[in-house]
Every structure is written in C-alpha cells, then in structure tokens.
C-alpha cells in the first residue's frame, strides 16, 4: 500500500543556512510518525513546506503516489493536510463554533451565518474522536488543553486526513498530555495519519509508531520506539553522548536568602494572580516551583524582581525588605534574574552582544566613569564572558538577534552569573533550547548552587524541576499548594498537584 504522504528530496535553504537538506520522509496510513529534533534541526521548516507556507528549493511531495504542488495553506487543506500550530491561532472572544467555522463558514441564504449547522458538525466530530468541547463556549474561557482540542477540531472540520501537530505538549499538564495521547490514538484508529513534532524524548517513546530524527536539516536516523532508548535518541539528536540527568551532590543549605510571606499579586487585568504565597530559599539550595504555565508563576517572579507591584505580604532578600524596591535596587543587593522570555525581557535584540552582556551593569565602574561609558572595559569584559560561557557568536559587535536561542540564553546567563550574586531567580531558563544547551545551563545552575547561591527555579517542565531541585513547591491558581522534598516526589504526585488535586494531609515540610 502506498504511503499517504511522501516527501522526496526536500531541500530548503535560507541565507546562510541549509534548513532542509534532501529530506525523505514517508507517512503510512493510520500511523503516528514522530519527528524528533532539536530547535533549529529543520522540523518546523519541513512542516511549513508541507503546509504550503514555504516553497521548497528542491524536492517533491506525493500524496498516495501522485505528485502534488502545494503553494499555500489552501492547497494543503485541499490535499487533506491540517496543521495544529504550537501557538494557537484562535480568536479568544469568539465561541468554539465561530472559531472552527472561521474561513469555511456555513451560511444560510448566502450571507447569514449558520451556527446551528456548524455546532452540529462540531458535536459529531467531538463524539467521533473523543474531543469533548462545548461549541458555544467562548474560547478565552477554556483551559489550554481544551483550546488545543478546538484547534484539532478545526483541522478535522476541514476534513484533514493528515494531521501535523507541532510541539503539541509544550503547554499541557501531564494529565492533559495523557488526554491528548488518547485523542491522537483515536484519530489513527479511524484512519487518520499523524505527524507529531517534538523534542521531548519520553513522549516519542510513548506515542509514536515510528520515529524519525532530524539534525541540522538532515534525516539522521529512524527507529521504532520498542527498539530504542532515550539515551540513543538523544545521541542521534545531538550527535554526541548526552547526560540527561544532572549529576549533583546533596544540597548544603545555609542562611535564608529569600523569604516570601503571604504574597499577593495582581495580573495585568487586575485579577488576583498570586494569593498568599509563602516560602523560603536558602543559600546552596534549589527551590523549584512546578506548575502549569499561567498559574501565577510569571506574576510571582515579576513581583520578586521588582517588575510588578505587590498588593500584600512581604519579600525579604538577604535580610533587606524589598517589597517596594525597584528592579535596580533588587539587582544591586545581589539578585540575578533569568527572565522567562529572553527576547522580550532579557535582551535588547538590536544591541550588540557586548552591550547585552552589561545590560544591567553599564552604569557602574569599570563600565562607566561618571556618565561616560568605558567601551574598552565593556568590550574586554564581553570578550571574557563570551569565552568563559562559550557563547557562539561571530563577534561581540553583532546584534544579539543574530544569535541562536541557545546562545542568546548563554548571553543572559553569562551576564547574570558574572556578577557577585547570592540569589538567582531563573524562570524557564531552558525554554526552547536544544539538549546541548540545556545540559550546559543546568550544569551552570548547579555550580552556582554549590558556590552557595540560593536558587529559585520556575519551570513548567517536570524533568527540569525534578532534575535540579532540592525542594519543590507546586503552584496552582496562584497558590503554593505544596512544598515537598525532592526525594519524596514522583512525577505522578507532582502531576496531580499541578492539576489542582489537593492532598489530604498537608504536604508541607519544614523549609
């Protein structure tokens, strides 16, 4: 039987990069094909070619053995290809039905929207594939996992047979991931075929029928999940041996460096985002804050670093009350902050790498004398840091935007770790990074811990939290629902806590 989809020799070059280099790929009917690769390996480029967003320089696409020409997403949809993007493309103030029918509206008498008909079809799709959703609910009221279902329904509504899911688990809780996997299985059971893009090793082993690994624009290998391991997949992805778990000694906690008491913070819309949060971080330990994205972590970090006003409670850093302190004052006490969105908060992308390496110390000696910047000193320090932290950049004078994500993050880490710090607040320090960079940054964080720095780590990635933390606090709907010793924690227990399931006995341990 011919494959439902076949890519032959797909090549796509961007200035200076060969994003796809003669890629061959075949998808069988009713199959879940996992496309595994680091950021920058060319997964998304390949899928964008398939979806008609890019035109390949070379290569052909076949659907059931007949050559097709896909010039834009309309062509792709017409060929039965549907894509669920990593970032949802939904209109928050529209209902599910309105979102689904957007672009392919059912109408009555030519112009009137026929919501009834649309809702009816959505219900059919829902029940057929186990995608529970209320067609009349507003999208903005739905949890992320359900919004993703809406995206999948959108694709099915357009009668796609081949579904491309681009990093679908990035925003989900472990439980939601389980739900998604069920949905994916029911899709293939009913004859659909799925390409599942990810960089998470555990997931591919769990869900895929076949795994294809991309590295630097090329297919470097294929495997069936039952005949491979995480370790060997990681090696294929990165091209060398990778240490997946962080090697660390027992923590040696010292003095309290951060004390948060009964903290209350509002979000941008004026709703309570953090309510009654209390915890401590000591010298030489990592406190991980686990939680699904959007449960108040962002606001918590902003409050601690002076970027957001605190409504109630108090924050003490190194014995100083910083509840009302400015970001600069907090930095000067000895706090480092690795922000969750490096491009939005952590870097000025149009500034040279050198300036970004002194972004918060440009005004103090030796980088400035009075109001005069000392460019020689800045350049000297920048070179030193680039070397010390292995930042790959053609020069310290190129704009930070020219660097890859991993190297941008290294710039931030280099800048923050080069100051004398006693407290590190690291928010999703490895978001979107490749395995190699993750390994490096994790190593640096543990090194800081062992030097006696207190570390507050915020991450929605369970692996990261469990690998690095000495203690783990779980955040749900703005509250710290539990603080546990790392050795007492299992993935399942964390997953349940993150999903808001309360434990009977108070799960607090002494800090």
């Amino acid at each position: 039987m011919p494959p439902v989809l076949e890519l032959r020799g797909i090549t796509k070059a961007f200035p200076g990069v060969l994003a796809n280099d003669h890629i061959d790929l075949a998808l069988q009917e009713g199959e879940i094909l996992a496309l595994l690769g680091e950021n920058g390996a060319g997964k998304t480029t390949l899928m964008n070619i398939l979806y008609g967003l890019y035109t390949p320089d070379e290569g052909e696409i076949y659907i059931r053995d007949s050559k097709v020409d896909i010039r834009d997403p309309d062509d792709a949809i017409h060929q039965g290809i549907g894509m669920v993007h990593q970032h949802f493309m939904l209109v928050p103030v529209f209902t599910v039905a309105e979102n689904v029918m957007l672009g392919v509206e059912s109408t009555r008498a030519g112009t009137l929207l026929d919501r009834e008909a649309a809702s009816k079809r959505i219900r059919e799709i829902s029940s057929r594939f186990g995608l529970q959703v209320d067609p009349d609910a507003l999208v903005e009221d739905l949890p992320v996992g359900v919004q993703q279902r809406v995206e999948i329904i959108k694709v099915l509504y357009r009668e796609a047979n081949i579904l491309i899911l681009d990093e679908p688990t990035a925003v989900l809780t472990p439980q939601e991931v389980e739900e998604l996997f069920k949905v994916v299985h029911s899709l293939v059971d009913q004859g659909k075929s799925v390409i599942f893009i990810t960089h998470k090793l555990k997931e591919v082993l769990n869900i895929a029928d076949r795994i294809t690994v991309l590295r630097r624009g090329r297919v470097v290998g294929s495997a069936a999940p039952n005949e491979t391991t995480e370790q060997s997949l990681a090696k294929m992805m990165v091209g060398r041996e990778v240490i997946l778990s962080v090697d660390k000694q027992m923590a040696q906690p010292g003095e309290v460096v951060l004390e948060v008491e009964n903290l209350r913070v509002m979000d941008d819309r004026g709703l309570v985002a953090v309510e009654g949060a209390s915890f401590q971080v000591r010298e030489g330990e990592v406190l991980g804050i686990a939680g699904v994205q959007g449960n108040g972590q962002t606001e918590l970090v902003e409050a601690l670093t002076g970027l957001r006003e605190i409504e109630g409670g108090s924050v003490t850093i190194l014995g100083q009350d910083t509840t009302r302190a400015t970001p600069r004052a907090i930095t000067e006490i000895g706090t480092a902050h690795v922000p969750e969105d490096r491009q939005r908060d952590g870097l000025v992308l149009s500034f040279p790498v050198a300036d970004n390496l002194v972004l918060n110390t440009y005004y103090v000696p030796p980088f400035a004398k009075g109001i005069n910047l000392q460019h020689d000193e800045i350049e000297r320090a920048a070179k030193e840091r680039v070397e010390l932290f292995d930042v790959r950049t053609p020069s310290i004078f190129v704009p930070a935007s020219n660097l890859s994500g991993g190297n941008q993050q290294k710039v931030i880490v280099a800048r923050e770790f080069s100051r004398p710090i006693k407290l590190l607040i690291a928010s999703q320090p490895t978001r979107g990074l490749d395995v190699g960079s993750i390994e490096y940054i994790h190593g640096r964080i543990i090194q800081k811990r062992d030097e006696g720095c207190g570390i507050l780590l915020i991450s929605p990635e369970l692996d990261e939290i469990m690998n690095l933390s000495d203690r783990i606090a779980v955040m749900f709907k703005g509250q710290i629902v539990a603080i546990l010793r790392a050795e007492d924690v299992t993935r399942e227990r964390l997953g349940l806590l993150m999903a808001g399931v309360r434990e009977e006995a108070p799960a607090q341990v002494a800090a």
Binding site: V17, T44, R328, V348, S350, N360, F397
Partner: protein, 427 residues
C-alpha cells in the same frame, strides 16, 4: 519561524585579536550599506522629478506631439528642459561654478574677496536653510531613538523662538557673551518644557505622545498669535516682536548680504553632541534601551518614566533651538511666518537620516540645497517651486517604504535591525 533556523556559528575567538582592522571594515561596510538606500531614494526621486518637469513643459509636450516627424528633437528638448531645470537648481543651491572659479582667481591675484562672497551666496543661503533643519531633525531623531514619535517639533520650535525673541529684545544692556547664551538658553528651556509636558503625560498616564504633541502644536501656534498681537507685539501694533538687541544675535560669519551665521556651526556641534550623548554616555544608552525594548530596559533597572520624560524634554529642547537659531541668526525678531514647516519636515529628515545624527546632518544639507535651489529653478527655468516639494515627498516615500527601492534596484534586504520608528497605539 526564524528561531527554527540555525544561525551560522562561527565562533572564531582567536581571530578576535585582529579585530582592529576587521571591525573597521565591518563598520565601514555598515555605513556604506546605510547610505545605499537614501542615495538611491534621492536619485530615483530626482529622476521622477525630471519626468514631471518634462511632462509639465509645453515645449516638451509639443516636441513629443511631433515625435514621428522628428524623434530626435523630442528627446533633445526633453533632455534640455530637464537639464536646464536641474542646472538652475544646482546653481541656486551652490552658486555658479564659473563665477566661483573667476572670483577665486580674483581673490588669489588681487586679494579682493567681495566677488567670491557674492558668487558663494547661494551656498550660504542653502546652509542658512539647513540650520533649523539640522536642529529639528536631531530633535525628532533623538525621539525616535528613545522610541517616541515627536510630531510636536513645530510647536516646540515656535515656543523656542518666542522665548529667545523675548530675552533678545526685553533684556537690555548685557554684553553679548552673556546675552546670547541667555537667549539661547531661553529657547532651549521653552522648547524643552514644551516637549517634556507630553513626555511626562506619556510616562505617567500612557497618553500617546503623537496625540499630545499635535495638541501642543496647536497651543503653541495660538499662543504665538496671542503674544504677537498683544503682549509681545511691536509698539506700533504690527504682529511682530520688536527687534532683538544685537548683543543677542547669532553673529553672521561674513559681511552682508551673506546670511550664514554661527548657528550653522552650532548645529553641527549639536549633532556631534547628540551622537556622543546617545552612544557614549549612560543616559544615552538608557534612552536607546527604552526605545529598542522598554521591557528589557525595565528589567535592567532603567526608570522608564524618567527616561521617557527626559527624552521628550531633550527632543523639545533641540526643536526649540531650531526656532531660536532662526530668530537670533536670521530674522532677529519673532514673526508668525518665521518657520516654513521646519518642524514638520524634520520628521522626514530623521527618517531619511535613519535617526542618526550624521544622517540627519546630511539629509538636512540635502533639503537645504533643494529648497535653496528651488527659487532659482523657478525664476530661470520656469519650473514651479512645488516640483521640489514633490521630489522631497518622493524621497520620503522611498525611504519610508524601502521595499520599493529594493524592488527597483534588486537589492536584498539588510540583515541589520532597523530602528523602530513608532510602536502601535497604547504600547
């Protein structure tokens, strides 16, 4: 999608030791690249301007009507018409090369300089026009660097002119070393205040600076009307201020009728100062940081509200200087019509100069020459002054929409980030 692309990672730290030379080449390449677009924009606008000149000339149209009888004449008439117009423009902007050469010879042989000055008078006039352009262009450019769109340069220019004129005529009996700086300071302060108000409103309440600077323009215009008709009017009741004391003049550099005054060099000096301030001082970095990414600036500990207010105040002060130099250097009094839209043109200048002080100076010189030459083009070649306005407008369109120029000349898009000229509403 861009983050999916692997950037070439040529970490050649060894080669860094030879950075000296490499960096110089790199920088020079950057300057060249930055010049390509504006130069092509000007060239293209002049070509299109030529077509318009040809198309609006009855002689040319007549010659083309007889194209099939005499094609050569159609072409030669067209060429001659356009050439005459642009030659007149050139003469009007710089002076007649033949006369200049002769006068130069005379200066060398006899030591008589009056002829040379007379021959160079068009150049002097062009530079006089460039002077307020440079100040006002710097004002808008500084705002752009700080992420703010100061549309209020014209109003700031008016209040600057008013303040300078007032100090100029009302304060008497001071030596010029005190009086001139005092008048300059008055203009700077008034413009600065006029800019700081919308700056403060933006910083504190988020009110958009575009709206508020426009409103401040109206206030400045009506304030000028009011003051010139009453409190500051000349004793005989004409709606102009009394003449300022000569001790407050920005001194002319050559004998009459050359009007080139010290203000021109003050403007050049100010461009250098703005460059130094923005790129070599901590405050300047803060302004550019806020302009390039205000969230990152906040993260880095910069006080955003202070910096926004400061940026607008400095921008206003520079625009105020434009009006001041016009009053103290050229008009020697404040009149309602003392600005021919310098403040509004300055937005275009900042754009054309890529918000860089050097770029602004070059753009201002260009506009000075175009304006200076336009009058002669009208009187000698009979081409309306408005054509030059059209050319100016087209330059701006081409610079603002670089895709057009890149399309015509098949250039690839630059890799460097371009300055964010204005962010969306409410940002």
């Amino acid at each position: 999608m861009s983050d999916e692309l692997e950037k070439p990672q040529t970490a050649d730290l060894e080669a860094e030791t030879e950075r000296g030379l490499l960096q110089r080449i790199f920088v020079r390449k950057g300057v060249l690249a930055a010049l390509v677009l504006p130069v092509l924009a000007v060239f293209t606008a002049l070509v299109i301007g030529g077509i318009i000149i040809a198309a609006s000339s009855p002689d040319v149209l007549e010659a083309w009507r007889r194209f099939f009888q005499d094609p050569l004449r159609a072409l030669s008439t067209t060429w001659r018409t356009v050439w005459d117009a642009y030659y007149a423009l050139f003469e009007g902007a710089f002076g007649n090369p033949v006369l200049i050469a002769k006068a130069l010879g005379k200066l060398i042989t006899t030591g008589e300089s009056r002829d040379l000055l007379e021959a160079l008078r068009p150049l002097s006039e062009s530079l006089v026009i460039s002077t307020p352009y440079i100040f006002a262009g710097l004002a808008v450019a500084l705002g752009f660097r700080g992420g703010l769109f100061n549309i209020g340069a014209e109003g700031q220019l008016f209040v600057g002119g008013l303040a300078a004129a007032y100090v100029g005529y009302a304060v008497k009996g001071l030596p010029w070393v005190i009086h001139l700086p005092l008048a300059l300071a008055a203009g700077i302060l008034a413009g600065g205040l006029w800019g700081a108000i919308p700056g403060f409103l933006k910083a504190r309440t988020g009110a958009h600076e575009v709206i508020n600077t426009i409103m401040m323009n109206y206030i400045a215009f009506r304030l000028t009307d009011h003051l010139l008709q009453g409190p500051m009017a000349r004793p005989d009741g004409l709606p102009i201020t009394p003449e300022i004391a000569p001790s407050a003049y920005l001194p002319a550099l050559f004998p009459r009728p050359m009007r080139l005054h010290l203000g021109f060099f003050l403007a050049l000096g100010m461009a250098a100062l703005v460059y130094w301030f923005l790129w070599k001082t901590t405050r300047g970095v803060e302004i550019r940081m806020v302009g390039a990414n205000s969230r990152a600036a906040r993260y880095a500990g910069v006080r955003i509200t202070t910096i926004i207010t400061l940026t607008m105040a400095l921008s206003g002060a520079l625009a105020g200087l434009a009006g001041t130099s016009q009053v103290l250097g050229v008009d020697h009094r404040m009149v309602r019509a003392f600005s021919s839209g310098y403040g509004f043109d300055s937005i275009a200048l900042a754009l054309l100069g890529n918000s860089h002080p050097l770029g602004v100076v070059l753009a201002s010189l260009l506009f000075g020459f175009l304006r200076g030459g336009a009058a002669r083009m009208q009187s000698v070649a009979g081409v309306p002054v408005e054509i030059i306005r059209v050319v100016q407008g087209m330059i701006i369109v081409f610079v603002a929409a670089p895709a057009i120029i890149r399309g015509i000349y098949r250039l690839t898009a630059p890799l460097e980030e371009e300055v964010v000229l204005s962010r969306g509403w409410g940002s």
